[in-house]
């Protein structure tokens, strides 16, 4: 009984997931994704460790949104956020690691 319930739940979750994935992104979705990416990129800028690729993805995301392609725009904004977060992580890591590279 318990196994059957779990299987039903899994099937329902899968269907729900598929339904969610196939719903087209909206301007609001883009706005939310873009704001998150922009915040992460500004954080990278504040510690002077921005990556050019994060900025480029943000521009592409904006252009896609302007063209009404919100699925693409959300995906690009998410890519930009991932790049910006990686740059912040790099900067924090390097604050500890750079002395290891110094010639002695």
């Amino acid at each position: 009984m318990r196994t059957r319930t779990l299987i039903r739940l899994a099937v329902l979750t899968s269907v729900a997931g598929f339904a969610t994935a196939s719903v087209a992104a909206t301007a609001e979705d883009f706005k939310a994704a873009y704001e998150k990416a922009e915040t992460a990129d500004k954080q990278a800028a504040a510690i002077k460790d921005q990556w050019t690729t994060a900025g480029a993805e943000l521009k592409k995301a904006k252009a896609a949104a302007d063209a009404g392609k919100f699925d693409d725009a959300v995906k690009l904004a998410q890519d930009a956020e991932a790049l910006a977060n990686a740059s912040v992580a790099q900067a924090k890591e390097q604050q500890k690691l750079w002395p290891e590279a110094v010639l002695r």
């Binding site: 002077k48 050019t52 900025g55 790049l83 990686a86 390097q94 750079w98 590279a101 010639l103």
Partner: protein, 281 residues
């Protein structure tokens, strides 16, 4: 027992912390020796003074091309332009020469300097703009041709003079030096490269078609004519270009970070001759 363990742990932590802190503190003289030893041991066939010739000290074929190109140096027009600019009085009748020691001739090797009044590193480019502003002129763009021409002329009058950079007994100077060192060894950009990745770990190796220059003496050739640019470039232009190549957003020209790294690298080159303006592929 527990108390003894805690006390022992505290003692160990206390002993370890200063060691860690000391690792980050800078001793310019010790750095200088380690830096010099690394390059001379790694490239025993390269004459010490030849490191200032960058990739040409690493690659014989490239050196032959350079010798041929240098019969009609591509930076010659910039030197001539810089000479004219340098001699032309400002609107108030004064000249660049009045802002510098020895009237600005043969002094390139003394820059960057640490200015104890402002607590900042002053590069030759910044000193030139300070001179302009003090005389009622607008500053030049640090990445453009006018600044490159002026510094090319000043470097030309200083050729052969040994780099002579001082880190004065001032904690702010040591901080600036250490920040420059940190910038040099810190990886950045999506490609995760530091300046040292190319110019310490890989001099002489190719990155695409370029032969990487050794960090030792790399500032002595500035400014440079780059065939890839089809024109002259200042130190700021070179640093911004390096940042872009590793997909890091370049900083503002002559930002504190760039001035500090120039200070660090120039100190590492103390005693090596000025070779600028240089010509690079």
């Amino acid at each position: 027992m527990l108390r003894k363990i805690l006390i022992a742990a505290a003692i160990v932590a206390g002993a370890v912390q200063p060691l860690w802190a000391a690792d980050r503190a800078s001793d310019p003289k010790a750095d200088f020796k380690a830096f010099r030893d690394y390059f001379t041991n790694r490239f025993p066939k390269v004459a010490l003074d030849d490191f200032v010739n960058g990739p040409y000290s690493m690659d014989e074929g490239l050196r032959k091309q350079w010798k041929a190109i240098d019969e009609f140096p591509p930076y010659e027009f910039a030197v001539e332009k810089g000479k004219d600019m340098f001699a032309t009085p400002f609107k108030n009748g004064k000249t660049y020469g009045e802002c510098f020691a020895n009237k600005g001739v043969g002094i390139r090797q003394t820059y960057p300097q640490f200015d104890t009044k402002s607590g900042q590193v002053i590069t030759l480019d910044v000193a030139l703009n300070q001179c302009r502003e003090a005389n009622g002129e607008k500053p030049f763009d640090y990445s453009k041709d006018d600044m490159a021409a002026l510094t090319a002329y000043m470097a030309f009058t200083s050729r052969g003079k040994p780099m002579d950079i001082k880190v004065p007994d001032d904690p702010r100077a040591l901080t600036a030096y250490t920040k420059g060192k940190e910038y040099f060894y810190t990886r950045r950009g999506q490609l995760n490269f530091s300046c040292a990745s190319c110019h310490v770990q890989n001099p002489g190796n190719h990155i695409r078609t370029e032969v990487l220059a050794p960090a030792l003496g790399i500032m002595n050739a500035m400014p440079i004519y780059r065939s890839a640019w089809g024109g002259m470039g200042t130190t700021s232009r070179r640093l911004r270009s390096c940042n872009s190549q590793v997909r890091a957003t370049p900083l503002k020209a002559e930002s504190e970070e760039y001035r500090d790294v120039e200070y660090y690298l120039s100190y590492m080159a103390n005693g090596l001759p000025i070779s600028g303006p240089g010509a690079r592929p």
